[in-house]
């Protein structure tokens, strides 16, 4: 559609080119920076409008903007353009995964054993319920049912962090949503690497891949994350705590990890999560503990969610897959809420249920995991993973609202809306 609109302009340009020698060839592709800025503006406008008029989390607006302008609907964001923005999306996701890794507070688990019971319940019940649903109800092969469960069992760190930040939430429900999101992500990433081996084992006669690939992913992430985290701490120790220079070091080392992970085909989200967790565990002197991501990470987050929205395969939607995806999400929701209700503990039942609702989001990490897996075996993976992908697509829009509902119902959001968060 766009090319037919541009045709007269292209013709005029090419005519001029014959006489004006310095004119470059007619630009077929939008420059990356221009694309970046357009995604930013479009996502921002839709997000702000939804927030102002309906009170919805801004993330929903960013995803909707990507969906509407992406290849599935209007096609203004092409598949090639999406590929162009992938490094920015990786950087955004990487930074948010780093942050959730830094929030992994294992000492809290030692001080409150109720949390261990709750998180084990969540991990085991979620994986088992989704696996059984995918295997028995949807009839996926066991390896791909396990893959679907690995991809969708955890909450979405990026959505949870940004929603909490947007609504300036503070309190026990919020803290536990963040903790269980971090722990669930850690478990999902471990299961994901194991499932990689299982999938290879089932589709590949050569056993080397079945063993080496999970090791490459798992150990590779640690080998990339560990020295970079050590480097970050080493340099940060030379600088004043909470200084802008420390923020730059944090961001720069995170981007270094993103770059190296991309070079080595190790998942970015896994590497940065591990880096964040190592920073949290090794930072005994709290060198970087007080240093936060700059507010600018919201700019990257907008791009991330517009790109995720544009990547969602709504064209693959069939009524059957849609119903199956809703079934998967219901089973997952029951598993999570049930795990927290069962776990007991000092938090009242109502608030435990709210924690279960707050960790419902399912998002960018899952989508990128699916594409990573499906890319290995395109002929099978695409169809086998349509279910978790569609479930993720639905939750892109519903998840932030559920997370927001949980923290608002718990009375943990700021009373007025003039709070920080986002770009408002």
């Amino acid at each position: 559609m766009i090319s037919s609109v541009l045709l007269p302009l292209r013709t005029a340009w090419e005519t001029l080119q014959e006489r004006i020698f310095f004119l470059p060839p007619f630009p077929d592709q939008l420059d990356s920076l221009a694309l970046f800025s357009l995604l930013l503006v479009v996502g921002l406008l839709v997000g702000e409008w939804l927030r102002a008029h309906l009170g919805w989390p801004k993330i929903i607006g960013y995803v909707l903007a990507g969906t509407v302008f992406g290849p599935s609907l209007l096609g203004w964001i092409s598949i090639e353009a999406l590929a162009q923005t992938r490094p920015v999306a990786d950087a955004a996701l990487g930074l948010l995964m780093l942050e959730i890794g830094r929030r992994l507070d294992l000492r809290w688990l030692l001080r409150n054993r109720d949390l261990v019971r709750a998180t084990l319940g969540d991990i085991v019940l979620s994986f088992t319920a989704i696996f059984l649903f995918s295997y028995l109800v949807v009839d996926l092969p066991p390896a791909w049912a396990a893959a679907a469960a690995a991809v969708t069992m955890a909450s979405a760190p990026a959505v949870v962090l940004l929603t909490v930040e947007e609504f300036n939430a503070q309190g026990q429900v919020t803290e536990r949503i963040i903790l269980h999101t971090a722990l669930g992500s850690a478990a999902a990433l471990v299961v994901f690497t194991i499932v990689l081996g299982v999938v290879h084992g089932q589709h590949n006669a050569d056993w080397i891949n079945a063993i080496v690939h999970p090791l490459w992913v798992g150990i590779g992430a640690i080998l990339v994350a560990w020295p970079i985290a050590a480097l970050a701490l080493l340099v940060a120790r030379l600088l004043p705590k909470r200084s802008l220079a420390q923020v730059f070091i944090l961001v720069a080392t995170a981007l270094l990890a993103v770059g190296i992970a991309r070079m080595l085909a190790v998942p970015v989200f896994l590497t940065l999560f591990v880096m964040g967790a190592i920073l949290a565990l090794r930072d005994k002197d709290k060198t970087l503990s007080y240093t936060s991501l700059p507010d600018g990470h919201w700019l990257l987050a907008i791009i991330l969610f517009v790109v995720v929205g544009a990547s969602l395969p709504w064209q693959q939607f069939t009524w059957l897959t849609g119903i199956q995806a809703i079934g998967l999400l219901l089973v997952r929701a029951l598993a999570k809420i049930g795990a927290f209700a069962w776990a007991g503990g000092s938090l009242p039942l109502g608030k435990r249920i709210l924690v279960g609702i707050g960790i419902q989001p399912l998002s960018a990490t899952a989508v990128f995991m699916v594409y990573g897996l499906a890319g290995l075996y395109p002929e099978i993976g695409r169809s086998a993973l349509a279910l978790p992908l569609l479930a993720a697509a639905i939750m892109e829009l519903v998840g932030p609202a559920l997370c927001r509902f949980a923290i608002a119902r718990a009375g943990e959001t700021a009373r007025d809306d003039s709070q920080k968060g986002g770009v408002a």
Partner: protein, 384 residues
């Protein structure tokens, strides 16, 4: 006549009660966090050491001991309350600390606690209510009669700077060294009914004065009077309200020992009081104590000359020795004497921590560790 002003509940003489407002911190960065209702909502506590209750914002929690005859009893209650709260905070990943102000919190982020009284305060005082996220120690001294309470309220008034200097623990506000030893009281002085008790003859005169304030629409209950020292009829006590919450409960107990010994001394010697004259210098003296602590110069309106705080304190401790021995609280008073001789109050300890860490997050972290450890800033030893 309202029940509050008509009925003064008589107490056993010189019984003590201590209230402490404590800071609730995030374990991540040691900033204040919203935690009070969650902590209380999931707490199983039988009240054996006294009460634990909400304060105006969600980042504060108030503990109050049971009425006790001795300072040892107060210290024991405070320790029990500390242990109870620390255990509950640990389960919820919250840190707890003393200090009159949080060194770097952003007051607009504070949340008002749910409850009709807090809603009314917020609607009446607006942003002042959020800025009132400061932390004080209140000491109650039991009185046998309402008239005695009014007399003691005025007799204690000249010693307000003493309590301020010895308890000062709020040198930082908004991430800045205020140069004050106690900056907390500046937040309190914004309230219209803060300040000093006026010159009163007896309880009947106090009731008359209160009705005057009621008729003028200025105050509805005695809770509206944010005086430095005020009578508390429902407890049958005089309440000293000018102390910062110290960094340790040991210092809080020591301040209670000072209040008890001083009240005992005043009631025993019954010195002539001249409240009217003292009111002329009260604000100046309070400023001196807040700003300079032990280095303050206190104006003595009777002798018409300034007196060095250190000199004044030494003389006072000398005078109170016999009273403290009689009350069995000499050891607690000695803790304050050591502090005076070393010129080490909590404000100085906080500044030393800042000089060491060059970071207020770490300073607050250190204060939380100190509060939990049960040691004192003076000796580093456990008094319990």
């Amino acid at each position: 006549m309202t029940p509050l002003t008509s009925e003064f509940k008589h107490s056993r003489p010189l019984t003590l009660g201590v209230e402490l407002e404590l800071q609730l911190l995030s374990q991540r960065d040691f900033d204040l966090t919203r935690a009070a209702t969650d902590l209380l909502g999931s707490m199983h506590y039988d009240g054996r050491f006294g009460e634990i209750k909400l304060e105006i914002t969600e980042s504060m929690i108030e503990v109050s001991t049971l009425p006790r005859a001795t300072v040892d009893g107060i210290a024991s209650d405070l320790d029990g309350l500390r242990q109870t709260l620390l255990a509950q905070c640990a389960r919820n990943n919250i840190a707890l600390c003393g200090g009159g102000t949080h060194p770097f919190h952003h007051w607009p982020d504070r949340r008002i606690c749910p409850g009709q009284r807090f809603d009314e305060l917020y609607s009446r005082y607006g942003y002042l209510a959020k800025q009132f996220t400061v932390f004080g120690q209140h000491i109650h001294v039991g009185c046998t009669s309402a008239d005695e309470a009014i007399w003691l309220t005025q007799a204690l008034a000249p010693y307000v700077p003493v309590f301020i200097a010895l308890s000062a623990s709020s040198p930082y506000v908004d991430g800045v060294d205020t140069l004050f030893q106690s900056a907390r009281l500046n937040a309190v002085s914004a309230f219209p009914l803060s300040g000093q008790c006026p010159e009163l003859r007896d309880w009947a005169h106090f009731v008359e004065h209160f009705h005057f304030l009621q008729d003028c629409g200025i105050a509805n209950s005695i809770k509206d009077l944010y005086w430095d020292i005020r009578p508390k009829p429902e407890y049958g006590t005089v309440e000293i309200r000018v102390c910062d919450t110290p960094l340790t409960i040991e210092r809080a107990a020591a301040l209670a020992a000072l209040a008890q010994s001083l009240s005992h001394h005043l009631l025993r010697t019954r010195p002539a009081i001249n409240t009217g004259l003292h009111l002329y210098v009260a604000r100046y003296n309070k400023f001196q104590a807040c700003r300079y602590g032990f280095a303050a110069h206190i104006s003595d309106p009777l002798q018409r000359k300034p007196v060095e705080m250190k000199e004044l304190l030494r003389e006072l401790f000398e005078q109170l020795g016999e009273d403290a021995r009689e009350l069995g609280c000499s050891a607690w008073l000695d803790l304050l004497k050591v502090s005076l001789e070393a010129e080490l109050n909590d404000a100085r300890w906080l500044r030393e921590q800042q000089a060491k860490h060059k970071n207020l997050n770490d300073v607050t972290h250190a204060a939380a560790l100190l509060f939990a450890s049960g040691t004192t800033t003076e000796s580093g030893e456990n008094k319990q």
